[in-house]
Symmetry: C2
DNA sequence: GACGAATTAGACAAGAGTGTCTAAATTTAT
DNA sequence: ATAAATTTAGACACTCTTGTCTAATTCGTC
């Protein structure tokens, strides 16, 4: 059946290409038109594929939708964890490093294609597929918030920050980082690099005014003289 | 035609009752099902009205939708300005007063029925009706952000806060105030009073750590001893 | 109680979308 | 080249929805 001369269980090749372009097109269309407003012919046209092929691959519209959301959830979480792993645990310049982190977070997880799509699909159809989005909630916010909070806790413990509740601080950090992008998000727009940087810069400055060490001792005095390593 | 014995231009009574229940039901259904997913029979049933009555009142589905959004926009803006007018210009207890304001803002403008509906409709259908939502943008964020910023500027000028850019501060204030409500919003939920208070309290505390006067003079020393009036 | 306006239920045509089926064309690997 | 699998276009039945129409009923008012 499936065990050919090919090395592993991967099925034929052209298949996969079709599958991918269907997934991409479907994400785009579901996102733009909502589940009810999307129709299979639209997706087929956008994917450059015949309608029947979509039915061959995914069975029906609902199964296709679920597959899309699962796929997006997975990819987004991977991206978020990859970005979290770049958190500045040993910052040279705390402000600059946190700004850069906030920019990465926004660019790679919030403003990118997958992030935008997943967010919109969750908001639009979340109530209709409770268990699907419960899954997202557990895998996403349920694991990413604590991960970020742990990084901030470590930073505080190392004496770089003055934080009472790392969970609260983590949520506020991200809220501040995209405080100025909200209106753009509302209408489905994508902030450009400049807006992202602006928002991150203002957000991190405020964050540090709130949680930065007042007069650390001697070494965390920043932004006047740069003592290179 | 319309000038009966009745005092002013208000048409018959039962009419208005129907109109209102149609508007309410339509808001609910459009919001729950999205424009494409909503159907007139659903709205009619939910409004306790016959399908034909909806067509009599609003012409067609699209006109009905536009009417709903216009109505929500108007009501929401009214609510926001009413709430802004309760901003603590002469705070007795800055932290407590700002928390109370943040709670009012969230409860009356963000978490209430109209706020939830308008936000979801904008996110879901915003791209499909550019001019309708441009209108919202001008009347809403375009006028409310500056209004709030002006209040913060005044507070800063009066010596209660240490703010560089009131526009940034205003956006960050609101971002902080509902930083902890985001996940709930995502799935269409409504935060309860406790969550709102928590989020506002944490948000305002952080806001004041960032923008509060460090050592004002003698009176703003809080949260250790309570000097009753 | 009677009048006119508004509402109602139901039927209706027209259109759009889903999911299935078939036979031809194309791809992939042997 | 040949055989198997996949894709394709098109037709199809079926369902759902929109928006119109009609005739009967209800409502508000005088």
């Amino acid at each position: 059946m499936k065990a050919n001369a090919s090395p592993d269980t991967i099925p034929p090749r052209g298949h996969e290409a079709k599958r991918i372009s269907i997934m991409e097109a479907a994400g785009e269309v579901f996102c733009r038109e909502s589940f009810a407003g999307a129709n299979i012919d639209m997706i087929a046209a956008e994917a450059g594929v015949s309608r029947q092929t979509i039915y061959n691959h995914h069975g029906d519209k609902e199964k296709l939708f679920v597959a899309i959301v699962r796929d997006l959830t997975e990819r987004c979480n991977a991206g978020i964890f990859a970005t979290i792993s770049t958190f500045p645990d040993q910052p040279k310049d705390l402000e600059a490093d946190l700004i850069a982190f906030a920019v990465r977070m926004n660019r790679n997880c919030v403003c990118n294609r997958d992030g935008k799509f997943l967010r919109k699909l969750i908001q639009t159809e979340g109530e209709r597929y409770p268990e699907l989005f419960a899954e997202w909630r557990e895998q996403g916010p349920g694991r990413t918030w604590p991960a970020i909070a742990a990084r901030f806790a470590r930073l505080a413990h190392a004496g770089f920050l003055d934080i009472d509740d790392p969970d609260v601080a983590a949520r506020q950090f991200l809220a501040l980082a995209n405080a100025e992008l909200q209106t753009t998000f509302m209408l489905g727009g994508t902030p450009d690099d400049d807006e992202v940087l602006q928002s991150a810069t203002h957000g991190v400055r405020t964050f540090l005014r709130a949680f930065g060490k007042r007069q650390p001792a001697a070494d965390a005095q920043k932004h006047s003289a740069l003592a290179g390593a």
